[in-house]
């Protein structure tokens, strides 16, 4: 089986790199989970803050690899033309990968303060803020890669067919790049710093990334269900309207306690309480399209991932977000393990799963077949269930820890010290770690599924078995 457009092949290294970095992210997740209960594990070689930075930065980078791979795969098919410059896409791949790898090596090998000195943080201080810890040079590299990527995708769309799906994807990607520029704004005033820091973090994950996610899901569903494009694209517009109308002012749910005026408790509360709507619409959309399918696509895991994304994004981003988004609740839960629970299920359910959806759909094609062998598909579906169910358990255990933490530290009449409370949460942290170990098993099965072949059917029924020796 041939790719419809030769240049789609550039997506393959992007997907491989994404999976590789995903493995790294999970390894550091296991270290962090253990450090929660064995406090001095790997100290002082890899302190918690360094491991966490590697964990979260790898996540962001591998999702970006996934988004770029997705764009390079789907845009030629959508626009019905070859990619503007496959060479540029290859070049950017290596630049991004080397910059990313050097950054991670820098985090692990050099004290963070020294890294800051070495990489021009004294010229323009941008480091040391959550998720934006990257050295200035890396941040500039991200901008260069993003611009080259947008140029490449933009030129391709310009010369080809302009579908709503590809325009929605492009809007999301442009938003991603433009909002990242706020990473360079870091005033000495912490209140102002925090206010605009959220323009990157919140407006990414609860704003423009939802456009990218909707476009990727829409594309995969279009291909595997054969449902009419008009129907799918209409749904996409409805979803992204709800996403941006609720999500933009929903930023206000981060402005309750950081110095901004009190009215944000109303604006942020009301709008962010509606943020589950686009995710619910996505769930309904996924099931609706699969139920109305006009063909049986041989790639079963891809369908499973797509449906799983719909459900888990709604649970993680929608339900777990809503749990603590209203100001009177958030007053007690802000910055507790409840936040960590939500973060894990939301990132996994929405963005990890949508990238795994497009990889599941596209990777067999990139390897020259419409779908993987039966056994590989079965293994991939095992991986789906292992990872998804264990992530639900991680979330439940962290939620349990969070409720107890909030109660002991913030609700009871004689509140306890942070570390006194943490010691009492150890059981939840151990259970979370076990769930994390199951997740890792699922990831190993997932990796193995790429190499699994069908066993040749040669054994004869009733043939004599050789005796064990």
């Amino acid at each position: 089986m041939q790719l419809q457009y030769k240049s789609q092949a550039v997506a393959k290294p992007y997907f491989i790199a994404a999976i590789g970095l995903f493995v790294g992210q999970i390894l550091f997740g296991l270290i962090l989970g253990l450090q929660y209960v064995v406090g001095d594990l790997l100290f002082p070689a890899i302190p918690f803050n360094i491991a966490r930075m590697v964990h979260t930065n790898l996540l962001i980078v591998w999702l970006l690899f996934g988004f770029m791979g997705a764009a390079y795969y789907l845009v030629p098919e959508e626009t019905e033309t070859e990619l503007h410059s496959p060479l540029l896409a290859h070049l950017m791949f290596w630049i991004f990968l080397v910059a990313g790898a050097l950054t991670i090596v820098g985090y692990l090998m050099v004290p963070y303060a020294t890294l800051a000195d070495m990489t021009g943080n004294n010229i323009l201080a941008t480091m040391g803020r959550e998720f934006l810890e990257q050295p200035l040079l890396t941040k500039l590299g991200i901008v260069v890669v993003a611009l080259a990527f947008l140029y490449n995708i933009g030129m391709t769309i310009l010369k080809g067919r302009k579908t709503a799906l590809s325009l929605i994807l492009l809007t999301g990607l442009v938003g991603l790049a433009v909002l990242f520029l706020f990473a360079f704004y870091n005033p000495a005033n912490l209140a102002k710093d925090k206010y605009f820091w959220w323009w990157v973090v919140h407006l990414w994950v609860e704003g423009v990334w939802e456009l990218i996610m909707a476009a990727i899901l829409g594309f995969v569903l279009l291909k595997i269900t054969g449902v009419d494009r008009e129907v799918i694209e209409k749904w996409l517009y409805v979803i992204i309207t709800m996403a941006l109308v609720t999500g933009i002012i929903g930023t206000g749910h981060h402005y309750y306690w950081i110095g901004a005026p009190g009215y944000w408790q109303w604006w942020g509360g009301i709008f962010s309480a509606m943020e589950p709507l686009p995710f619910f619409a996505m769930t309904v959309f996924c099931f609706n399209m699969v139920n109305r399918r006009r063909r049986e696509h041989p790639n079963k895991p891809a369908t499973l991932w797509a449906l799983g994304t719909g459900v888990m994004a709604f649970l993680g981003a929608g339900v777990w977000g809503f749990l603590h988004t209203l100001a009177p609740v958030n007053y007690y839960t802000h910055g507790s393990q409840i936040t960590a629970a939500h973060g894990h299920l939301a990132f996994f359910g929405a963005y990890v799963m949508v990238v795994l959806t497009i990889i599941s759909y596209a990777m067999p094609m990139l390897r020259g077949r419409e779908a993987n062998p039966e056994r590989a598909q079965v293994l991939e579906m095992w991986a789906f269930w292992l990872m998804t169910v264990s992530m639900v358990f991680i979330t439940l255990f962290l939620t349990g820890a969070g409720i107890l933490q909030v109660w002991l530290q913030r609700v009871i009449p004689d509140p306890q010290e942070f570390m006194t409370v943490q010691d009492q949460l150890a059981l939840f942290y151990w259970l979370r770690w076990i769930a994390g170990a199951v997740f890792s098993t699922g990831l190993v099965v997932y990796l193995y599924s790429f190499f699994a072949k069908d066993k040749p059917q040669t054994a004869e029924v009733g043939a004599a078995q050789p005796a064990a020796s």
């Binding site: 206010y195 944000w264 007053y331 609700v411």
Partner: protein, 142 residues
Amino acid sequence: MSAFFTKSMARNIFYGGTLFTLLLFLALTFHTTWTLPQRDHRENLTEQVARGKHLWETRNCIGCHTILGEGAYFAPELGNVYPRRGAEFIKIWIKYRPREGVPGRRSMPQFDFTDQQLDDIVAFLKWTSEINTEKWPPNIKG
């Protein structure tokens, strides 16, 4: 719904709805920026506070602690550590962190700060604790 609600209607609602909320958000941001000086007491934001923030960032404190509830949840909230512990406690705590950590316990690195740097950090934490946070956190424990 297909007969009454077409794709181009959906698209127009998307453009209209997004533009409207974006403008509303920018208006609220403008108002916030305008009233923020009364809430963040920026008149007290000295060079020393700025140096303290720089130390806070370049030691990646946010990788373990929260500040005004944001950051990692591995170590105590520091937005109100100044009223909770006071300047001397904070300086001594940072200064005498064992280099190899505390056996079996969550450990904070030894940053080898000078006395001047310790004062800068304290100035930053003091200034931060005086931001109007709508009475968050609920109690002194953070």
